[in-house]
Structures are given as C-alpha cells and as structure tokens.
Subunit: 419 residues, 2 copies
C-alpha cells in the first residue's frame, strides 16, 4: 500500500528526477540484500548474513524468518563449528520461484520454464512464419499457459517472462522477425494478457544476465558479454547493472570500424566488426549462400575438417576481434570479457585461443589474457536460457530504483514487496 504516485500533471510536468523512499521500500531493499548475499556465497547463517549486510542481528532474524516463511529460503542442518550455539545455514530455495524465457526468430519460437536456480523444468517450441505482433502475442500467451499447465507451477510463483531478441528492440524491433514489431509495446500488451511482468532484452544482454546469475559471471560485478550471433553485440554489465543506453541501443559493437577500408556493411560504413565476426560473416566466407543450408553444426564440421575457407575466416575474425576487445578493454576497464553466442563452443574456444597474444594495453599488462577473456555460456538454447534469467535478475536486482517509488509501478506484480 501507499505507493501511488500523486498526480503530477496538474501543474507543469516536472522532469523525471530521483524519487524519495520510505520504510516499505527500505525493507524491500533489505530483503534483496539478504538474497544477494545468499546468491553470492551459496549458504550463510543468520550471523553471517548480518555481517554481509551490515544490518543488525535482529533485523536479519526477522527478514530471514519472513523469507523462509515465503518459501524463498530453506534451512540446512545446524553446523557445530567452533564454540557457541550451532548456526543453521540458509540456502536459496531453487523451487522458491520460477521464470519463463522466450526466444524468437522468424521461423521458431522457443519457450522454457526454469526454476530460480536456472534449471530447466520444461521447454516447448512452435514453428512460425513471420508473424505479426498481434499473432505473436497470441502465440506467446498460449505457450506461457501451456508451460504453466504442464509443469503445474503456480503462476503466483513465477517472477515473470523474459523475451530475448536479436538487436536493439526499441529502435529496430526484433531484427528479421517480421514487419510491424518496431515500437510494438510487447511488454505491456503481453503483461496485461497473462498477468505477469514481461521484459524484453536483446540476446547479448540476456546472455550477460544468465552469465551473472548462473555462470562464472557470479563472481564479477563488471563485465562485458560479447555475443556472436548473426550479427555482433555486447551485453554491458556495469557495477551490477545492465547498461542499456538512452534508447536501449547500447552495446552495438558490431558496428565499430576495425578496418577503415574494409568490407562494406549494411549500415553504410566500411570495415564494421560484425562483417568479420558473426555467423553471417562465417557463412559468407565459406560461400554458403542458401539460408536453409546454413547451420552452426555445418561450421563445426568445417572446423573439424580444417576447411581452408573456414580457417581463413577464423583467422581473420580473430584478428579483427582482437582489435574490438582492445577497444572495449580500454573503454570499460572491465573485470573480464565473456565471449559467447550462437557459435558451437568448440569454435568459440578456437576463436578465443587465437586472440593470443592480445594487443598491448594498460590492462593487458596487469592480467594474462586467459584471466581476462572467458568463454561464455553458449548452447543451442542459450538465448531462451538467457531470456528466462531476465525476470529473476530484475526481481532480485538492487538498483537505485529499488529505493524509489518508481520501481513499484514498473513491474505489475512482484514476489518481493508488500504482500
């Protein structure tokens, strides 16, 4: 209660600034802080959570009790450690909540339901052919319902639905899916239809979020995820947050110019990075023009065969990617950079190995390449996995907004928050 924003429209509309906070939101923040501590460390006793959050023991006792009662936490057996009363360790309950991820391209929709730990419960798919947004809406809603029905998961325990699309949605819509998607308010429309929070992220951001929640990224607050798909994009995970940019178009590293006199790109420039480092570029290099023949498996076969055309592509891709990595490290000073996407892991691995030696930079002197460039999660259903991690991330994410009243409005319903 008490989160209605008073009418601002009467006098001149004040430009959005920073909202104030109140007790209710402070508590929500603290609940998230507890969960964050648990996610970072796996299992903690109340006393350890107290130290991790710098809250008082009593407060933690109350918050933990509440979270346990809500089913988000489960207690383990008391551990008799040194002296004193043996402490019960607490874990996040993987079945404490669920999430749905949807991945769409122009011929297939893939939807999966995962639990809080990112473990898949069920995956379903549906063939489509360039659906209109309204048709897509129907299909998504149907698939969500189907997932919930088949798994018998209570929709009240579902944090939301994440949709992963290639490229910046706000500006170009889901690239290549079909006409009419640009500016279609899919989050709002689908959200209303199914009564769950819906969030769209591009594939690179979704992958970065999945990496953060369930992969190696758990250890890092600031990293980049270079996503090699049909094009090339990066998820920018900075200080614990995905950085989207003003129009949601941040991370378009595919159009960094790495070869001023290089290959012509659709964007009108020459030598864009994604003209060298992308599935598209690979298919072109091996002379595969027919779309139906193109597949990541085909590429993997060529790698195994050491096909000259393919190896030529790989060598050139690595050379250009090295420049891109160098630019990103200089600009972002990240802890690590993940490389992943739609390529088979074997090819990504080969590509990453060929990045050595890196171009010299301030950072490259401090840490060897192997510690700075890591292989990201990359599997056939990685985008759907990434999409599914999106609602979980935002449910437990602590951002500036989380102490402001705006957040309470943004998601239609939340599991945390006043119950």
């Amino acid at each position: 209660m008490a989160t209605e924003i008073s009418d601002m429209s009467r006098s001149e509309p004040l430009k959005a600034g920073v909202f104030g906070t109140n007790l209710e939101q402070a508590k929500e923040h603290n609940l998230r802080a507890v969960i964050d501590a648990l996610r970072r460390h796996g299992a903690l006793t109340r006393a350890e959570i107290t130290r991790a959050t710098a809250l008082s023991v009593q407060t933690i006792s109350n918050l933990v009790a509440e979270l346990e009662q809500r089913g988000l936490l489960i207690a383990g057996e008391p551990q008799k450690a040194k002296r004193g009363q043996p402490a019960k360790p607490y874990f996040l309950n993987p079945e404490g909540g669920y999430s749905i991820g949807i991945q769409m391209d122009h011929q297939l929709v893939l939807a999966k339901l995962v639990n809080m730990a990112g473990v898949e419960c069920l995956e379903i798919q549906k063939s489509i052919s360039r659906p209109s947004p309204e048709e897509g809406l129907e299909i998504f809603a149907e698939m969500v319902e189907q997932l919930l029905a088949k798994t018998r998961v209570d929709s009240g325990k579902v944090f939301g639905v994440g949709i992963a699309i290639p490229g910046p949605y706000g500006i170009s819509g889901p690239t290549g899916v079909g006409p009419g998607w640009v500016d279609f308010p899919i989050e709002q429309r689908l959200g209303e239809k199914i009564g769950l929070p819906v969030r769209v992220e591009n594939d690179a951001n979704a992958a970065a979020i999945a990496e953060r929640l369930h992969g190696e990224g758990k250890k890092f607050d600031t990293f980049l995820y270079v996503f090699i798909g049909m094009g090339l994009g990066a998820g920018l995970f900075l200080n614990g947050q995905i950085y989207h940019g003003v129009r949601g178009a941040a991370g378009e590293i595919g159009h960094i110019i790495v070869e001023p006199e290089g290959r012509l790109c659709d964007c009108g420039n020459r030598g864009c990075l994604e003209r060298y480092v992308s599935l598209c570029a690979a298919y072109e290099a091996i002379g595969e023009t027919q779309e139906k023949h193109r597949s990541p498996e085909q590429l993997e076969k060529l790698l195994d065969q050491k096909d000259p055309a393919f190896m030529g592509w790989l060598t050139e891709a690595a050379e250009k990617l090295r420049r891109g990595i160098h630019a990103l490290e200089s600009i972002f000073d990240p802890e690590v950079i993940f490389i992943g996407g739609l390529l088979p892991p074997k090819i990504t691995r080969a590509l990453v190995d060929m990045l050595i030696p890196p171009l010299p930079s301030v950072v490259s002197q401090l840490k060897p390449q192997e510690e700075r460039i890591l292989l990201g999660i990359s599997a056939p259903s990685a985008p759907a996995q990434g999409a599914a991690s999106v609602p979980i991330f935002y449910e437990f994410n602590i951002e500036r907004q989380s102490v402001s009243q705006a957040a309470s409005q943004s998601l239609s319903r939340k599991v945390l928050g006043s119950s």
Copy 2:
C-alpha cells in the same frame, strides 16, 4: 549514530556485497532527492517537490524545513498563481556550501574555492617542479588552508577537496607529475591532514562532473565527455553516475585504434586515436618540438592564420575523431557527447564543425549531429573548476551506495547525514 559496521573479520571475510539500509539512510536519500529536484528545476514550491519526489506532503514539509534551517535552501517570495494558498518557491542557496578544486601538472598547482553553484570565490597558484608525493601533500594542505583563511569560509561548510589529474590515477599516477605518485594514497593522507573528504578524479571525469552540475549536462543523465588534453580521455557519465571501471581506468579512448596501419603510439600499437586527436599530436604536426614554446594560444594563432600544417592536423584529427565518436555512440547510445579539454574553444569549435557529416549509425538517423555533439566547458582553468565540482557532486549524488551503510564510512565527514 548506529552506522558502525559490525566486525566481519571473525569468520571468513565475506566478499563485499550489497549492504542493507535503515531509517537514517532513507532520510539521507530523501534529503538528496529533494536537493536533486531543486537542482534540476532551479526553484520549486514544497508542493512541487512533493510531486517530483513522490513523497508525502508532510515529509517534504519536514525535509524542506530542515534543509532551510541548515542553510542549504532559501525561500523566495510567495507566488500567487491560480487558486489556493500562494506557495513559497525554494532555491538552493549558492552559499549553502563550498568546495575546493586542485589541478596539478609538473610545474604548476592551481587551487580554487567555489561556492555550491560553482562560482569562483578565490583562485591561487604555486609553481612547483616535480614534487614528491610528500612534498605535494604539504603544498596542497597549505593551499587549502590559505584559501579558507583568505575567504573566511568556515571549513565546516566545505564539502571537500577535489583533485584533477591527467590519466587514470590508480594505474599510472598523475602522468608526468613526478616519480612516486603511483599508488600514493593521496585521498586518505590529505584527507587526514586537512580534515576534509578528498577525492581524485581524472581530468575527463572532473570535466564531465562540472558539465553535469553547472553546464549543459544538467539536462542529461547519460552523456560522454571527450577531453582533449595532452592525451585523450573520456568521462563516462552513465545513468547519473560516473563510471570508473574496475581499476579506475575506464574511458581511455585515446588508445582506440582508428588506423590499423597508422602512427606508432607509446602503448605499442599503431593508429591510436590520441596520436591524432590531442595537443601532443597538434604540436607534433606543426613541428613544435620544444616544450616551453608549446601553448594552446600558439595553436589558436595558427588557426587564425589558417596555417597549412595546423589546418592539415585539424582535418586529419576531425577525420579520426569522427571514427571515435561513431564507436562511442554505437557502444554507449548516449544522449549527447561533449567535446572539450585544453584546446582553446575556437579550435574545439572548428574541430566539432568539421565532424559533419557524421558516419552513418543507428543513432545518427534519429538526431542531427548538432544535437548530439556539444561543446563542453573548456577554459584555461577548467580542470580546477572540474576538480572543485567533484566534492559537490559526491555530496549530493544519489547512488546505490547512498542507501547502504558503506557510504557513511567512505567520506570522513558529510554535510548531509545525521547532524
């Protein structure tokens, strides 16, 4: 009271996570929210602040009264607008607080005291020659004392001291100042010595902060500040925060490679952006090898004379900078990019004009170049001005930390916060 962090060292040191919050910090957040609203709009009535912050009228009444009582706010004459009781508008009191900025290179230290609105009260300078850190410490402390004594400003009303240095301090120290500065804990040492919070920022970040507080940047939450100095760096102002990167080395755009077969750079690569766009590059282009003859004024004269060598540099610099801007826009999707630094405004203006037409990009289709690339504040004493804005920014800055207990410890003393 009640902000002491309990001892974490007893059991294994938990890795830093998110801290919890309490009433005290919530109030501090709200005080900042009020100030933020006022800074954005210039003057607001209590009722308008209520709408801007989404807090209750009563809360705003209390907070405004407290801030007024502390001297940070001043009330104007009641305005009879339409109906109802005439409302008093409130302003930030420019004399409600002060700040000190220090700029240092290898031969000169420049220190200035400004009020909260960024208006200079006094500037002093001192010649030096490659001082050791300990000597620098003495000099800084002396200059701070001198500023306070001469202006008769109560040190209790000073938010802190900002120090602007070229390049990433944590990694390379203040470039070219002298030996021994790398890793010297100047913030802590000087802070202890003078009893004021001290913060070091590189010149690009300081300029970005000044732009945000006192310049056109007031209107933008997400922008970049490209700082043309002896080298080239960028201040990354993202979602209301300066992004520093993991080691404080973010924004090193000078080493983006814009010409793979281009000029050799100290860093070991070829074609780094700052080999074309920087004062250094300009001096080299005009054949001025003697350091004592080099000056921005000299360059301005050459521009006026349309000196062929200089104009050649300018043309090439613009061409390379265009590529850099294109990369930055693709990566960050910012609202605007400011260009500024140590070049005379006239030259910067000429450079910016020569960036038209821009390279095509997603963003370049949405907005004309003139609205995306702006001239940043750039004056001889701009770095010191930028430095002085740093403590003001952090005093009133609302970050995630501001609702956590860590922040209360980071600054030795704060004007906001429990009094």
